[in-house]
């Protein structure tokens, strides 16, 4: 087995790190740079920055945050959200991102994946799939944070993504996202079996067993998680800072405990995986 990557996902709105449920209902947690640094120092293998409102405005506004982050953290990070053209991708890479994640743009015009892979290298291009299971029992790809239907089945789209030359697939279960009810193993397993490129599982991870299941049963190459880590990190980070964030701070200040989501550190995840014979890069002091 390969070394499984643990990839914190940071959803960003304006200057803030936010977290929602089903990609909606965003709450402000803090400053993304603070969380990025914290995760880097605590053993994250990569990071994902997702501009969650960019798609609506058709632009990615993270360039300054990307540049500041790239100067501080020495692990790869992927940027997604609102990237529509080759020039958009180039601008984000020039700002210091290592990879880009495409969803809406790829579905509207798949040739952008091929063009981008040719120009920037396959390994620079991640295609994100936002999947929703419909009444017919099949999974379909959605765009704009799960709001708009495309009618495209996830498995055939995943295979097309590989043919177009993307280096990785980030598969999100919109139904599970933010709920902590566990990854959609059937979805992850089907996508992993359908392609030979690495698959990053995202959406629903609420505890350590969920993560193990996505690796052992889902055959994921990497795990992207948010809530579990954010709800632990935010108290550590924000305790030492003043309340300078805009948006919904009430939630953050309430110190609310989650019944389903069991917050922890990356080292907790890695030692749990190790005790289950799943290999990953250990944290070096």
């Amino acid at each position: 087995m390969n070394n499984i990557r643990i990839i914190p996902r940071l959803d960003i709105k304006g200057p803030n790190l936010v977290k929602g449920i089903h990609l909606e209902g965003l709450r402000v947690l803090g400053r993304p740079e603070d969380f990025a640094r914290y995760y880097y120092e605590n053993g994250a293998d990569e990071l994902i920055y997702q501009d969650v409102v960019a798609s609506l405005y058709e632009r990615n506004s993270l360039h300054q945050i990307i540049s500041r982050t790239a100067k501080e953290i020495v692990i790869p990070f992927t940027v997604g959200g609102g990237l529509r053209t080759i020039d958009d991708i180039k601008a984000v890479l020039r700002a210091g991102a290592d990879k880009v994640s495409l969803n809406t743009a790829a579905l509207k015009d798949p040739t952008i994946v091929k063009m981008a892979a040719n120009k920037f290298g396959s390994s620079t291009i991640v295609v994100a799939i936002e999947a929703i299971k419909k009444n017919d029992g099949k999974y379909y790809a959605f765009i704009d944070n799960g709001r708009e239907e495309t009618g495209l089945e996830v498995i055939s789209w995943a295979q097309q993504i590989e043919e177009l030359g993307a280096g990785e697939i980030l598969i999100t279960s919109v139904d599970r996202e933010g709920t902590g009810e566990g990854f959609d193993i059937e979805l992850i397993k089907n996508v992993s079996a359908a392609v030979n490129i690495p698959v990053i599982a995202h959406g629903g991870g609420g505890n350590l067993d969920n993560i193990k299941d996505a690796i052992i049963d889902g055959k994921a190459s990497a795990i992207s998680i948010a809530s579990i880590l954010h709800y632990h990190a935010m108290f550590k980070i924000n305790n030492s800072k003043g309340g300078t964030y805009e948006g919904n701070k009430t939630f953050m200040n309430s110190g609310k405990n989650f019944k389903i989501i069991q917050p922890c550190e990356i080292v907790d995840i890695k030692s749990f995986l190790k005790s289950n014979q799943i290999s990953c890069r250990p944290l070096k002091q």
């Binding site: 390969n2 020039r94 120009k119």
Partner: protein, 219 residues
Amino acid sequence: MRSKVAIIDYGLGNLFSINNACESVGLDTTITADINEIDKSDALILPGVGAFGHAMLTLKEKKLDMAILDFIKTGKPFLGICLGMQLMFSESEEFGKHKGLNLIPGKIVKFPKKNKQNECIRVPQIQWNQIFRSNDQIWNNSPMKNLDEGEYMHFVHSYYAIPNDNDTILTYSDYEGVRYASSVIKDNLLGIQFHPEKSTKQGIEIYSSWANYIKFKSY
């Protein structure tokens, strides 16, 4: 005097993080495709991601292939990273046959489709993988000498190098049962398949040792 490193800009790869890594170990950098700038530098880095054939073609179009060969003849340090390392070899089988810079005899081949257990091998390899020394003497005269055996580095690649001469191999790594050269060293040439600039402070340590080599010609 700070050493000056030219990072070759031929439109491929994330130059930001390589530039950052160099600056963080006290090197002055210039990101350039200008042959005069390259000539004037104390050391040269060839980065790169993507396709071998396309990269060689671009280097040739910009006459950078000759500039690199001329630079290396002066004995000044040269570092190839990722695709930049692969381009140092004689040829690649990527999308048909392509000639490389032929600085290190050997070839570039693709990871097989299946491992010994007949399971599919995911390509590209994208993971933190371990590096192991080929032998003590080579390791101790290399920028890896301060690292622990089995250190984890960040890898992203679909093809790997098979050098003709085992004495050019600095480290080995293993992917799905394929044991391959993950870095090579020969005189003033250093080739690294992984991304030290993305591999935490252990990766930056490699840049730090290389910066010493630029200045003092020893690691």
